[in-house]
């Protein structure tokens, strides 16, 4: 009998040998011995429980079904180097035992996962981190718990960026549904080396900007760079529309046309490359580091530039947004912690959120993940003056009209539809009139 099973068991042996190749031998025994499903599952559970106690992922692996955890957090930061410290801090401060699940970091995949979890009323996850695109989609869906009375209470509400809270994370009943995890700007970045070379000293107006484009472009270099992949380009279209004083949700506005013409001209005159319509941030940033771009709009504090040794006042740095129309405009964004309505651990979840909205919680996030505190009072206290972002960020807050990005409930569909026609427009497959008509149609379709 035994001999005849050899070929079937071959597979188990193969699997074992694979593992040997990987160098991680501690789990080998489980599958090879598990003759039946039930047996192996037992093995699996034991394995998970015994597992790698030290690894931060062990928490995620063993699952929360046994009630050992107070709360499950679905986070995008779990693969950060400083995550274990952050988690220890949070657990210590709140007294909660938190089960961590790593969210995908690829943006499409992440969006799909989170959307699915919330839309199916999955109660396995209590707290999630969502971006503005998702907030816009979910805030009126009833999937997220209102936090006005528990977390985002009146005493602290005023310290968060007002326009942002109102635009992005307040639902139709006036309930705030999230705790902003940080404060970020779609900052204007310039390459000082190219600025110096072009002899440009001020970058305050549209004329300055155009002068810079002209001087910096040529020989494979472009005054302005972007990431115009169809879902990424949204930020830049909206930014330019804003700067010209237009309204992204009204394509009959002449300022919108002006903005689009300006972008088209940048392409035509060789101030910005058309090939960036395939680029996401990971393609754009290396080019900026390489000195291929003179300026761009980008989120974050410049880690990519830092890694390449290009961050600094004499190299790549943030600058004030040039003023194209009556005002200076800038977008802000955040990722918010939200509470799943289906959650069965709401008490613990509220405790967690309260901590995230507090000074200590924001400080922990700033120290671990470089997340600029969302509360003004906290940023003032926590962020040292030596942080180069501090000066620029407070100038943005004080000198610019700060807005949340214009989004509609069917966010991603709207964003990618707009991106698609934008690409057609800059590739001259579509006229400006056609573009504006189509854009207006989309606004109406997705704004229901």
């Amino acid at each position: 009998m035994k001999k005849k099973l050899v070929s079937i068991l071959l597979s188990a042996a193969l699997t074992g040998s694979l593992l040997a190749g990987c160098g991680g031998a501690d789990n080998t025994a489980a599958p090879a011995e598990g003759g039946t499903e039930a047996q192996s599952d037992g093995g699996a559970a034991e394995d998970a429980a015994a597992g790698e106690g030290a690894a931060d992922d062990a928490a995620a692996e063993s699952g929360s079904k046994d009630g050992a955890y107070d709360l499950t957090l679905y986070t995008i930061n779990s693969t950060d180097e400083d995550f274990p410290d952050w988690l220890a801090n949070v657990e210590g401060a709140t007294g909660l035992k938190i089960n961590v699940i790593a969210a995908p970091t690829d943006s499409d995949t992440r969006q799909q996962k989170i959307t699915t979890i919330l839309s199916t009323g999955d109660a396995n996850v209590d707290i999630l981190e969502i971006n503005d695109e998702m907030s816009a989609s979910f805030k009126n869906s009833g999937w997220l718990e209102g936090l006005n009375d528990t977390v985002m209470t009146e005493d602290i509400r005023g310290e968060f960026p007002q326009g942002y809270v109102a635009d992005m994370i307040t639902d139709k009943n006036g309930q705030i549904i999230g705790v902003p995890g940080y404060s970020g700007y779609l900052a204007f970045w310039v390459n000082q080396q190219i600025l110096d070379e072009a002899g440009i000293t001020s970058m305050d107006t549209k004329e300055d900007f155009v002068k810079y484009l002209e001087a910096a472009s040529g020989d494979g270099r472009y005054g302005y760079g972007g990431s115009w992949e169809k879902t990424y380009v949204f930020n830049e279209i909206a930014q330019f529309v804003n700067m010209f004083g237009g309204d992204y949700l009204d394509w009959t506005n002449p300022a919108n046309r002006e903005a689009m013409e300006f972008i088209h001209e940048m392409v035509e005159k060789g101030y910005t490359p058309i090939d960036q319509i395939a680029d996401k941030y990971e393609q754009m940033n290396p080019k900026f580091n390489d000195g291929k771009y003179g300026s761009l709009f980008m989120w974050g504090l410049g880690t990519d530039y830092d890694k390449a040794g290009m961050l600094g006042a004499d190299k790549i740095h943030m600058a004030m947004v040039p003023q194209f129309s009556d005002q200076k405009y800038i977008f802000t964004d955040s990722w918010s912690y939200v509470l799943n309505t289906a959650s069965q651990n709401k008490e613990a979840a509220v405790k967690f959120l309260q901590y995230m909205a507090s000074e200590e919680g924001m400080k922990a996030s700033y120290e671990a993940f470089d997340r600029y505190p969302a509360r003004r009072d906290v940023a003032e206290k926590v962020v040292p003056d030596t942080d180069p972002a501090k000066e620029m960020y407070s100038r943005y807050a004080n000198e610019c009209v700060v807005k949340g990005r214009p989004m509609l409930p069917q966010t991603m569909e709207f964003i990618s539809a707009m991106g698609t026609i934008f690409q057609s427009y800059v590739k001259d497959e579509m006229t400006l009139d056609e573009f504006c008509t189509k854009a207006q149609e989309y606004v109406e379709t997705y704004n229901q």
Binding site: Q111, Q112, T115, S141, D275, I277, A278, K427
Partner: protein, 291 residues
């Protein structure tokens, strides 16, 4: 063959496990998909109402889907064409008797065994004009060569197809090779004696003998082309515009990102019908081919 009534229970004992597991994971989702396809379900807008066949009618008005269908057709036809041509060629190379054969047979398995998502992400970089592998190699022969693969419809589609071939062709070739093996060398010797050269013996001996094998293989490989989307998912996200979007990718986006569940279900049913029709025709063709 066993068809005694009294023994039928044994058959059911044997096939029940596969039936149960397969049924468990497919019956409910299929029924639900078919039902959903007649409803207008837009979760993000909170819409859930009976819609008759309007989802199906909308498919043919939706420019995104029309572009998608167009590329899906191009993708399947072009990719399968090269699968057959290059696959047979590669199989012949793998069948040559020489010292490098074992090595070659080992390495051809690598692309097939590589996760598609990894290949897709690598592909996005490989076809990048500035930092990509492809243009870098071309530039070593044609200095100053510039081509932005992923921004124009034609080149982006070519890039997706090329990557698909890189991943899947070796596996196809190996499966053809398994057919080639059975052709005994006596036939070739006999042909040589009759004065046939290599080209002639290929067309008159090899090809007819492996034709059936090749055609059989075309069924699953075509179906995989119709249902696969990992490459596009991680490489182009369907861009530029919707030019490299595949139908399966479109369904995923509608079902999981846009949450237009009813519409996604209608697309899914349509895809299923296309696949069923294709398989039916293929079977018919195969049967005729045999006669």
């Amino acid at each position: 063959m066993i068809n005694k009534k009294s023994l039928q229970w044994i058959a059911w004992v044997l096939i029940l496990p596969v039936l149960l597991i397969r049924g468990f994971t497919t019956i409910y989702p299929i029924l639900k998909t078919v039902i959903n396809s007649f409803y207008d379900i837009r979760i993000l807008s909170g819409v859930h109402e009976f819609a008759g066949v309007s989802n199906y009618l909308n498919i043919f008005k939706d420019q995104k889907v029309i572009t998608t269908l167009e590329f899906t057709g191009v993708f399947v036809v072009v990719s399968m064409f090269f699968h057959i041509i290059l696959g047979v060629g590669l199989a012949l190379i793998l069948n040559m008797k020489f010292k490098g054969r074992r090595f070659l047979r080992t390495i051809v398995l690598i692309p097939w065994a590589m996760p598609a998502v990894v290949i897709g992400m690598a592909g996005k970089w490989a076809f990048n004009n500035d930092y990509g592998l492809i243009n870098d190699l071309v530039r070593r022969f044609v200095p100053g060569f510039e081509l932005h693969w992923l921004i124009n419809t034609g080149t982006a589609r070519a890039a997706v197809i090329a990557l698909d071939l890189w991943k899947d062709l070796p596996f196809f070739a190996i499966l053809i090779l398994s057919g080639l093996q059975f052709i005994s060398s006596d036939i070739y010797e006999a042909a040589k004696v009759d004065g046939a050269n290599a080209v002639k013996s290929f067309f008159y001996i090899t090809l007819p003998l492996i034709m059936r094998n090749v055609l059989t293989l075309c069924i699953p490989f075509t179906l995989w082309r119709l249902t696969g989307f990992d490459l596009v998912y991680s490489m182009t996200s369907g861009g530029p515009g919707e030019d490299t979007s595949l139908i399966a990718y479109r369904i995923t986006m509608e079902a999981f990102t846009n949450l237009n569940v009813g519409y996604a279900a209608a697309l899914a049913v349509l895809l299923f019908l296309v696949m069923a029709v294709f398989s039916w025709f293929n079977m018919r063709f195969m049967n005729r081919f045999e006669d």
